[in-house]
Every structure is written in structure tokens, then in C-alpha cells.
């Protein structure tokens, strides 16, 4: 991970922390802000991938993977934007769903890392905690205030993990 990538991760982590605290303090006003930021982040990531595919990756063996990733990001961004006018409950369900999805991705990555004798415990722990938080959110879905608190806790956890991850030394294989 380069210094720029570390700084980026720290900034993203701090923004996530701020969002979680904002959501805890002012539950009503936070929803549109969260939806807008989610939408923006997904659209930027999606269009960057699509541009990368069109200009370079379409000539690469396995480049279709980039196209699919970009299309999915753009689609998710549009879907997120459409949630601005639906009841908050559905937004919470959606956010919980993304948390659960993220947990599954972390667990799969941890499994893959373990398979190749790489570091996997931190990633597995992260996935397990996210999954637990998503389950608690689902169980208490009838109590929006409770769900918001639990969701915020999960968000703060993810933010802290991202910041901690930015300070870790990653193994790297280079050539000579």
C-alpha cells in the first residue's frame, strides 16, 4: 500500500466515523446525507472503472471483469439514489444488507487468504463482527432507533478497522 493509498484510507475512515456520529446525533437529517454520499461514492467508482475498461482494460485478458465491476457499481449507485424517497425503514434494510454483503466479502477474502497461507485472522474477525451487527439490525428492525444505534456501532467499527488497516505493513512480492 502506498502512502497515498494509506492517506486515502485514513480519510475515508474518518469520514465514515463522522457520518456514524452524525447519524447517532441527528437521526432524521442523516438519512439523505448518507444516501447522497453512498450514491456519489458508488457512481464515481463505477464510472472510473468503466472509463478504465473503455480506454485500457478491454484489451486485457480478463478485462471483462473490470466492465462488470463498473456496471455493478453504477447500478448500485442508481439504486441507492432511488432510496431517497422511500421510508427510512427500507433505507435501514438496504444499509444493513450492504453491511451483510461486506461481511460476506470479508469472510470470503479471509478464506482465500488462509488458503494461500497469507494473513487472514484480522479480515475474518472484521467479517464476523460485521455479520453479527447485520443480524442484530435485522432482529431489532421493528425498533428503528435501536437499529440506528447498532448500525452506527457497525459503521464506527468499519471506520476504525479501515484506519487501523492503513497503518499496517502489507507483505509485498517484487522482482529483481
Amino acid at each position: 500500500m502506498t502512502i497515498v493509498q494509506r492517506v486515502r484510507d485514513i480519510i475515508v475512515g474518518l469520514v465514515m466515523l463522522a457520518l456514524a456520529l452524525f447519524l447517532l446525533v441527528s437521526e432524521e437529517a442523516a438519512y439523505p446525507a448518507i444516501v447522497a454520499i453512498y450514491t456519489l461514492v458508488l457512481e464515481i467508482a463505477g464510472f472510473r472503472l468503466l472509463w478504465y475498461y473503455l480506454t485500457m482494460a478491454r484489451h486485457m485478458v480478463g478485462g471483462l471483469r473490470i466492465l462488470f465491476q463498473g456496471a455493478i457499481y453504477v447500478d448500485m449507485g442508481l439504486f441507492t439514489a432511488s432510496l431517497i424517497n422511500v421510508p427510512q425503514m427500507y433505507i435501514l434494510i438496504y444499509l444493513t444488507g450492504t453491511l451483510a454483503f461486506s461481511a460476506v466479502v470479508d469472510l470470503l477474502r479471509a478464506r482465500e487468504s488462509k488458503g494461500i497461507q497469507s494473513a487472514w485472522k484480522l479480515k475474518a474477525f472484521q467479517g464476523a463482527v460485521k455479520l453479527l451487527i447485520a443480524l442484530i439490525c435485522l432482529i431489532y428492525m421493528h425498533s428503528p432507533a435501536m437499529v440506528v444505534d447498532v448500525f452506527c456501532a457497525g459503521y464506527i467499527f468499519s471506520a476504525l478497522m479501515r484506519i487501523v488497516g492503513a497503518f499496517r505493513r502489507a507483505p509485498v512480492i517484487t522482482i529483481s
Binding site: M1, T2, I3, V4, Y52, T55, M56, A57, R58, H59, M60, V61, G62, G63, R65, I66, Q69, I116, Q117, S118, R169, A170, P171, V172, I173, T174, I175, S176
Partner: protein, 370 residues
């Protein structure tokens, strides 16, 4: 390539080209030093940081991958380890950025190789050794580029080793890459260490043959794979054949630098002086081992009748440090740094002249007094 070829095989090539023992040692030492001359090492010995010919893992970890950082990485790796074969190659597709990266793909017998060898002519044994490193790597690092790039350097699961059979045929064996840097490579089981897939185009994981790890550096290996740039065409890399050509081309190039050959023809990969030893050389190259140093060393000592000391990266440090500001350029390391700066300048300028922006502009900042 690794120390076995850059140090011991280069020594053998220098002996066959006609150099005396001490000069052979200077040449092979310089060839090997290219893999150690990082900014961290230069700081220790007090050399100019611009003369860096490699980057350590820790340096790469913190290397910037913005435009300036990529230029710096490309200047080092394209100049010394992945010399581009054709800076004007027809691409006919993709953006300018794709074309620039494609044209940095390394390969043997290119125009820049001729420039490299001619540049070393008359510049001493350090320049000759450095040029031999660059020459040898053009054979081992063929099809990879000395700049971080997913679209050029990526490899996928379609990666097979061709195992020679007793009847002369070859059997395919899938290569599985481990991503644990501390794991041991096991050629017998087909397990090699490679970098992790990173979808970021400019990740340092996508520099050179990082995705395939050290596998391309082994002289015994034959493999087929689909390079990221290759339109799903399978490419065969025959290292035993290529390493033999690399060795012969080194003997020929060193003959040119020594003065027994009048010109250097970049397409010539044979030398009459190698023929009597071909069986021994082929035996060393084809032996399944991750380090052939002992065999090359024994061959070199049998050629010259002199012992070859182990490589010591700090062997010339005291001489350089104790030399005054103005005498440093006359030391062993001083001449090596001069050769490195000349090579980097030449390659960077050639890349820039071709309209390629990836190496940026060559610039030397004034050094503080040592």
C-alpha cells in the same frame, strides 16, 4: 535473472570473451550490483541517490504511484531490468496510456540494447558489467514491462509449466502461485510465489513480472501463459533456449567491449567461443534448481583456474567513502554510479523522444557534499 546468472555466469562469459581474471571479477560484480544499488544502499555508502538501479521491497511499499512516482519507478526498472524492445511498436488500439505501456514491454535484441552496449564501450569494466545485467534481463524478462500496469503485466490461471518427458515430449502442469512472500518455492510440486491480484492499474503488485513472482527467472523452466496484452493468445517462454542465447550474446557483447569484435549486431546471439562448452552450459541451465550459483561458479573456476569470491555488496564501500569529493569518481563505485547515470539518462531520453510520457524527464539534482 538472479545472482547465479548475473554474477557467476557473467564471470564465465567475461572469461570466454578474453578478459583476465581481475577484470572478469569487476565485470560480474558490477552486473550483480545492479540488483543491490537501491536508494537505501546508496545512502549507506554515500552515493548519489539518482544512481539507484533498483528499489527494495520497503522502498516500493512507500513508493508513490502518482505521475511523478510512476516516472521514477519506470526510469529505474525500464532502464536496468526491463529494457523495452520496441519504443515505436505498432499498437493500433487503446488509449495513449495503453500504447505507452505496451511499448515498454521488454524483449531481447531491441534498438535500446544496441544503444546500451555501445554506451558501455570504452567506459570501463563497471559499465560493461552493468550493460551485461541489462542484456541478460532482456531475455529473462521478455513480455513484461518495467512499469506498474495491470493491463500489461497481469497473469491469470492459464499458466502451465511444460515438463520434459523421457520421449522428448512435454507434459503440461498447471502452475499454482502462492501469495505468501515468506513461503518457499517448490519447483517439484509446481508451487511458486507471485504477487496478489490488484485491480488498480498502477499498483506496484503489477510491476514487471511480479504477478508471476520469480518463476521467469529460473533458467530450467518452460512455460505457456496468456499475457494480459496478448489477445488471449497463448505464449511459450522457453527459458533454457533463451538463457543459452543470453549467455552467448553476453560473450559476443563482451568481446565487442573488449575489442575482439569490431561491431555489435543486436540480432546476433551466437558466439564461437561458447561452442566448446555448450554441453556444460546446457547442463547447468536445464538443471531443476532455484539457485545455480554453485554450478556456474565451478564452471567459471574451471575456465580461469582462479577462485571466484562470493559477492559482497559492501566490498568497495570503504574505498568510495575514503576518497575525497573529487577523487570519488575514480573509485570502483564512482565509475559504477557514472555508468548507471549514463544508462538511466540514455533510456529515459529515448523513451521521451518516442513520445512516451511514462519515464518523464531525466534530471539530476545537485548532490550535497559527502
Amino acid at each position: 535473472m538472479q545472482g547465479d546468472f548475473h554474477y557467476y555466469a557473467t564471470y564465465c562469459a567475461a572469461v570466454l570473451a578474453g578478459y583476465e581474471h581481475e577484470r572478469c571479477l569487476a565485470i560480474c560484480y558490477s552486473a550483480q550490483l545492479v540488483d543491490y544499488c537501491s536508494r537505501s544502499w546508496l545512502k549507506k555508502v554515500g552515493g548519489p541517490s539518482e544512481a539507484a538501479t533498483t528499489q527494495l521491497q520497503l522502498e516500493l511499499l512507500d513508493a508513490r504511484t502518482d505521475r511523478m512516482g510512476l516516472n521514477d519507478i519506470t526510469r529505474i526498472w525500464a532502464s536496468f531490468h526491463f529494457l523495452p524492445r520496441d519504443l515505436y511498436a505498432e499498437v493500433g488500439r487503446g488509449s495513449r496510456n495503453y500504447r505507452d505501456k505496451y511499448r515498454l514491454i521488454c524483449g531481447p535484441c531491441g534498438e535500446l540494447l544496441a544503444e546500451t552496449v555501445n554506451l558501455a564501450k570504452g567506459k570501463g569494466d563497471q559499465a560493461a558489467g552493468l550493460a551485461m545485467h541489462v542484456l541478460a534481463d532482456t531475455w529473462a524478462h521478455t513480455y513484461f514491462a518495467g512499469t506498474p500496469s495491470l493491463v500489461i503485466n497481469n497473469t491469470d490461471q492459464h499458466f502451465f509449466e511444460l515438463m520434459p518427458q523421457e520421449d522428448g515430449s512435454f507434459e503440461r502442469r498447471r502452475v499454482s502461485f502462492s501469495h505468501n512472500p515468506s513461503a518457499a518455492e517448490d519447483p517439484e510440486k509446481g508451487v511458486y510465489v507471485g504477487s496478489v491480484y490488484q485491480s488498480s492499474e498502477n499498483s506496484i503488485m503489477n510491476l514487471g513480472h511480479g504477478r508471476a513472482g520469480h518463476l521467469p527467472d529460473y533458467s530450467f523452466i518452460r512455460y505457456v501463459y496468456q499475457p494480459a496484452w496478448g489477445d488471449y493468445r497463448e505464449i511459450l517462454k522457453d527459458n533454457p533456449g533463451d538463457y543459452e542465447k543470453a549467455f552467448s550474446q553476453m560473450v559476443y557483447a563482451l568481446g565487442f567491449l573488449f575489442g575482439t569484435e569490431e561491431t555489435f549486431d543486436k540480432d546476433r546471439c551466437v558466439s564461437d567461443k561458447v561452442a566448446p562448452h555448450l554441453e556444460t552450459i546446457r547442463g547447468i541451465i536445464a538443471k531443476r534448481q532455484v539457485d545455480a550459483s554453485a554450478d556456474w561458479k565451478a564452471f567459471g573456476e574451471s575456465l580461469s583456474g582462479e577462485p571466484i569470491p562470493d559477492f559482497d555488496m559492501y566490498a568497495y564501500q570503504d574505498e568510495y567513502r575514503s576518497a575525497g569529493k573529487f577523487a570519488a569518481s575514480d573509485t570502483f563505485l564512482g565509475r559504477f554510479f557514472e555508468a548507471a547515470l549514463s544508462q538511466k539518462k540514455m533510456v529515459t531520453e529515448k523513451i521521451k523522444e518516442s513520445g512516451n510520457r511514462l519515464a518523464g524527464t531525466y534530471r539530476v539534482t545537485k548532490q550535497k557534499d559527502r
